[in-house]
């Protein structure tokens, strides 16, 4: 192929071969990652390899019936998302096509091919309210006005980051309040830029920011084991690996429901269709614990189920994080849940093997670690280009084959993330939920988040946490002995420790996601629960020292009520009474 021809502007190519989602085309003039339309039906695809005259394309739709000789048309644009009001309360597939619009357009409950739709409604009018005046100087990313996107969220309209150079400003020439659709300019700048509510951004490129900072605020989840023992920061990263049936998805759902972020982006990547339906049906009915509004008002869903085309599974993670970054630029705290990053990695593997690339570990491409790192690096606590602060927290579920954490996806993820919630099949089997293993999990944010908990909950939060960890550690050691000789062979004080640890496990660490009250536990309640168990611990050891036999201590009537703290709505009163009863009952024994 001569150079002269490849500079032709038409650039259309012809399909040479088709193998599943991978299509090669001849004579296509394209750059890497350009979006192309493949075949007579115009299936959406992306350029992933160029070799001489042959361009390889991954197709985001089913390729049955597509054959050689059909045309390939280049759009000349990289894979991008539509950013603007309307992304919340929406549900997308992996390439940001709204699934509700697709259902209408296709007139069928099945996903047809070759139908495209913009990510946001281009005709809907929004009530624009300016925040700057004519004559004001604005820089890139600066907010010029707001529209009410949902009852919960004001969508800020920003100067696109590529409209001006860094540090450069321009004067606002016109700006006006009123009803506009997303394509109409709401403001004009002196350099000729027309600001609309609609921006496009290539998904594989992080949106610019001024600075990355150390996160110091926790993402409070209302889950005791997370907030209490292994907290994640706003702007932090976390991984939830676990074998099937250990509760990855329930944990992710709990976070999406109760985490105190402003915006939730939930990416269902290669998972079950019914699970996504559950989210679609449940979230509009659930209340945002912060303000009582519908939960969907702060949520954007991306659903690329396991039977939807594999290439769109590869892109859905990027679609999600780009949407998250856009809200971060407005100064919001965004939490992104990706369920599951293993399916994403497998999609990379599948495409890679169809390209006949040299495989790395377990058949995954050699660039797996780099891609994972790039994704998690897009999370963080940022100073934005417009001077506001915002964060993206990334929480990725991992599905290791056979539950074996030594496999490449888990290992490469653990090298990057700072919070590790290890799910445990043994705990799940005995219905200990959330089945997060307290010995294996960790959070590297603990110390930097302690000041927040001390200020907002209680001064001795770190000490109490350490006490709980110590008791649980001791229990693990003692259990090894119990396995050999039985519980009764242990000395009294150790038997008592086992009993205290049992309450920690059964009352404190377990939490019923399906109970209307227990499902969300504010940090204050988490704290009080722990102190109740500690009260029992302290009083019980005093009693033991005073010569009361351990059986009698364990048998007191009031202690089992600890197990019911979780389901109490008026927990403060309940806890106070319970503490008094435990103390009284134990002291009456000596």
């Amino acid at each position: 192929m001569s150079k002269a021809e490849s500079t032709e502007t038409t650039g259309d190519g012809v399909i040479q071969s088709v193998s599943g989602p991978v299509v090669s085309a001849r004579d296509l003039d394209a750059r890497m990652n350009d979006v192309v339309y493949v075949g007579d039906e115009g299936l959406m695809g992306e350029v992933i390899e160029i070799e001489g005259n042959i361009t390889t394309v991954q197709v985001y739709e089913e390729t049955s019936g597509v054959g050689p000789g059909e045309p390939v048309e280049n759009t000349g644009e990289p894979l991008s998302v539509d950013l603007g009001p309307g992304m919340l309360d929406a549900i997308y597939d992996g390439v940001q096509r709204p699934l509700d619009v697709l259902e209408g357009k296709m007139g069928s409950p099945y996903l047809d091919r070759g139908v495209d739709a913009p990510g946001i409604d281009l005709e809907k009018e929004w009530e624009f309210e300016p925040l700057v005046e004519v004559g004001d100087e604005v820089g890139r990313g600066d907010v010029v006005g707001v529209v009410e996107e949902t009852v919960t969220i004001d969508h800020k309209v920003m100067v696109p980051p590529d409209a001006l150079e860094e540090g450069e400003t321009a004067e606002v020439v016109t700006i006006e309040a009123g009803s506009f659709d997303v394509t109409e300019p709401v403001a004009e700048l002196s350099n000729g830029t027309e600001v609309t509510m609609h921006q496009e951004w290539p998904v594989r490129e992080p949106r610019p920011s001024a600075n990355k900072k150390t996160p110091r605020t926790p993402l409070v989840s209302g889950q005791r084991i997370l907030d209490g023992l292994f907290p994640i920061a706003k702007g932090g990263t976390a991984a939830i690996p676990g074998p099937f049936g250990s509760g990855k998805t329930v944990t992710q759902h709990q976070l999406a429901k109760y985490a105190d972020a402003d915006i939730i982006v939930y990416v269902g990547c290669g998972e079950r269709g019914n699970e996504m339906t559950e989210v679609i049906e449940d979230f509009p009915e659930l209340e945002d614990p912060a303000n009582g509004n519908p939960l969907m008002a702060r949520t954007s869903l991306i659903a690329n189920t396991s039977n939807m085309p594999v290439a769109a599974r590869e892109s859905c993670i990027y679609t999600g994080i780009t949407i998250a970054e856009y809200y971060r630029d407005m100064g919001y705290d965004v939490a992104l849940m990706a369920d599951s990053t293993s399916r994403w990695a497998e999609a990379m593997r599948e495409i890679s093997s169809r390209l006949e690339e040299m495989p790395g570990e377990e058949g995954y491409p050699a660039y797996l670690a780099a891609r994972l790192a790039q994704f998690y690096e897009r999370a963080g606590y940022f100073e934005n280009v417009n001077g506001t602060e915002g964060s993206v927290s990334a929480i990725g579920a991992v599905s290791p084959p056979g539950g074996d954490f030594s496999e490449p996806v888990t290992q490469n993820t653990l090298r990057i993330v700072k919070t590790f919630w290890a799910l445990d099949a043994d705990l799940a089997e005995r219905r200990h939920f959330p089945s997060i293993n307290w010995n294996e999990s960790y959070s590297l944010y603990k110390n930097q988040l302690d000041p927040w908990f001390q200020e907002n909950v209680e001064e001795d939060w770190p000490e109490k946490r350490q006490w709980a960890v110590d008791v649980l550690d001791e229990e693990t050691e003692l259990q090894e002995i119990v396995q050999l000789v039985g519980k009764d062979a242990l000395p009294d004080d150790q038997q008592l420790t086992l009993e205290v640890a049992r309450y920690l496990r059964e009352a404190y660490l377990q939490q019923n996601a399906f109970h209307p009250v227990d499902t969300y536990c504010p940090p204050e309640k988490t704290y009080l629960m722990l102190t109740t168990i500690e009260t029992f611990n302290d009083e019980a050891f005093d009693a033991l020292e005073a010569g009361v036999p351990v059986e009698e201590i364990i048998d007191i009537e009031s202690v089992p009520r600890i197990n019911r703290i979780g389901v109490q709505e008026d927990y403060e009163e309940y806890v106070e009474e319970l503490k008094a009863d435990i103390t009284e009952e134990l002291r009456s024994l000596y």
């Binding site: 054959g67 000789g69 296709m106 074998p243 019914n274 996504m276 039977n307």
Partner: protein, 474 residues
């Protein structure tokens, strides 16, 4: 239609042929051998000038003089309500000497993905009459719940019991059921032995279940490649009956392990880069395209519920087949060799078993308000008893506390009274839960921390005599 006599290479189940027109990916191909035999295949890879064809019946008898015809369409399944009561081969052709089937429609067997937005969340309880399932791992309409088993286990008996019993209350109801939906079973056999097939067929005929069933048979000596088509035929028929004819369809696929072996065989013949244990890297996607065809759709009456059966090689659930399946399906039922050798019928090990859709399908208004609590409590108690058994082996029962001994007794009784009901016994949910309360009453009241207090008030047997009365009434 153009005929080619241009076969260049034959390798395992694959045939490569030169062509001078554009052939679509996945298109159906007919190959006529010199002996006049017609074989069917599918385009696996289409390039300019050459296509790779996977031949369903195997490539024996094909030589370079065989003629190749491209039918210009992807694989279709002729569907009609008249399929009920029929026995077909693995490619959907009748083998029961019945009348010719006149299709109402011909549907693409690949099946497009259901838009998650159009799905309806499954939450209608299916009573299987098996306590270990109804009580502990409840099945709901539109769920996919596989049976994880291993060679030599009675998984087929369990599947047949479910197929038989799940249907009965459904039919009784259908009179006053305002939806008026009927129940149908579609049975897809992939690579099972003729003997197993006979057992299934006998059971179907004995119970009269055949008239509301469609049977697809690909036997062990049928071509392996055909197995990759059979489940798609099955599911296309299921979707048609469920979403166009309002049936509640229960699909039983056995054995998924044979299906995956066939995938591996094709992958190897194509010289693909293998994934774990030689299975193709796209096996997750491929399996998902089958399992995800279970479900309910908004505005349609019917449902597709799947019970795939797979035999785990070496009884190892980390093997790629059960592993990938477990990540796609909504739970799993384990058939346990130890329990089987103890004579439990069905030998279901409830501890690793799970039904993900259970929580939304049970409770007040759906089954019974105490269902969730009873199930959780029995899980926890059985797990504790199971742990203690290890300890007993070392220190003996006498060394254990009274509390521990109660848990041991509970675990034993759970297996013999709750799980071991026999393949012929059909228990309704009420009975299952009552037995559950009998067992829980073996434990002290204070130990029941997962059941709401009001239910303990209502159902806990205060003294043993009460318990025996219930048992005697059984």
């Amino acid at each position: 239609m153009k005929e080619y006599q241009t076969i260049t290479e034959i390798s395992g189940p694959l045939v490569y042929a030169e062509v001078d027109e554009a052939i679509g990916y996945d298109e159906i191909v007919e190959i006529e051998t010199a002996q006049g035999e017609t074989l069917r295949g599918q385009v696996l890879e289409s390039s300019e000038g050459v296509v790779a064809i996977q031949v369903f019946e195997g490539t024996s008898g094909i030589d370079q003089n065989a003629s190749v015809r491209f039918l210009g369409e992807t694989m279709k399944m002729p569907v009609t309500e008249d399929l009920l009561g029929r026995v077909l081969d693995g490619s959907g052709r009748p083998i029961d000497d019945g009348p010719e089937i006149v299709p109402e429609e011909r549907q693409d067997i690949v099946g497009a993905a259901i838009n998650p937005y159009s799905r309806e969340y499954p939450e209608e309880f299916i009573e299987t009459g098996v306590s270990a399932i109804d009580g502990m791992n409840t099945l709901v309409r539109g769920q996919k719940l596989p049976i994880f088993s291993s060679s030599g286990q009675p998984h087929s008996e369990l599947a047949m019991q479910i197929a038989r019993q799940a249907s009965v209350p459904e039919e009784e109801e259908s009179g006053d059921d305002e939806e008026g939906s009927e129940f149908a079973v579609i049975f897809g056999a992939m690579g099972i032995t003729a003997e197993e097939a006979n057992e299934f067929m006998e059971d179907f005929e004995r119970t009269g279940a055949l008239e509301r069933s469609v049977v697809f048979m690909n036997l062990a000596d049928d071509p392996a490649v055909e197995r990759t088509v059979t489940p798609r035929m099955v599911l296309t028929t299921a979707e048609y009956l469920a979403f166009e004819k309002d049936y509640h369809v229960l699909v039983i696929l056995t054995d998924m392990t044979n299906y995956c072996e066939a995938l591996r065989e094709i992958g190897a013949a194509r010289e693909e880069v293998p994934g774990r244990r030689g299975y193709p890297g796209y096996m997750y996607t491929d399996l998902a395209q089958l399992y995800e065809r279970a479900g309910r759709i908004q505005g349609r009456e019917g449902s597709v519920t799947q019970i795939p059966i797979l035999t785990m090689p070496g009884d190892d659930d980390t093997h790629p087949i059960p592993d990938l399946t477990g990540y796609i399906t909504e739970g799993q039922i384990y058939v346990d060799p130890d329990l089987n050798s103890q004579g439990l019928e069905p030998p279901v090990n409830v501890l690793p078993s799970l039904s993900r859709l259970m929580d939304d399908g049970i409770g007040e208004g759906l089954t019974r308000a105490d269902h969730g609590g009873v199930s959780d409590q029995m899980y926890a108690a059985y797990a504790e008893g199971e742990d203690l058994r290890d300890l007993v082996n070392i220190v003996g029962r006498e060394a254990l506390s009274e509390r521990d001994n109660k848990y041991l007794d509970f675990a034993d009784a759970f297996e013999t009274e709750f799980v071991d009901q026999g393949f012929e016994t059909n228990r309704d949910l009420e009975e299952t839960l009552e037995i559950g309360w009998d067992l829980l009453s073996m434990l002290p009241k204070e130990e029941l921390n997962r059941v709401d207090e009001e239910f303990i008030e209502e159902y806990y047997r205060e003294d043993d005599s009460e318990r025996e009365v219930v048992e005697a009434a059984d």
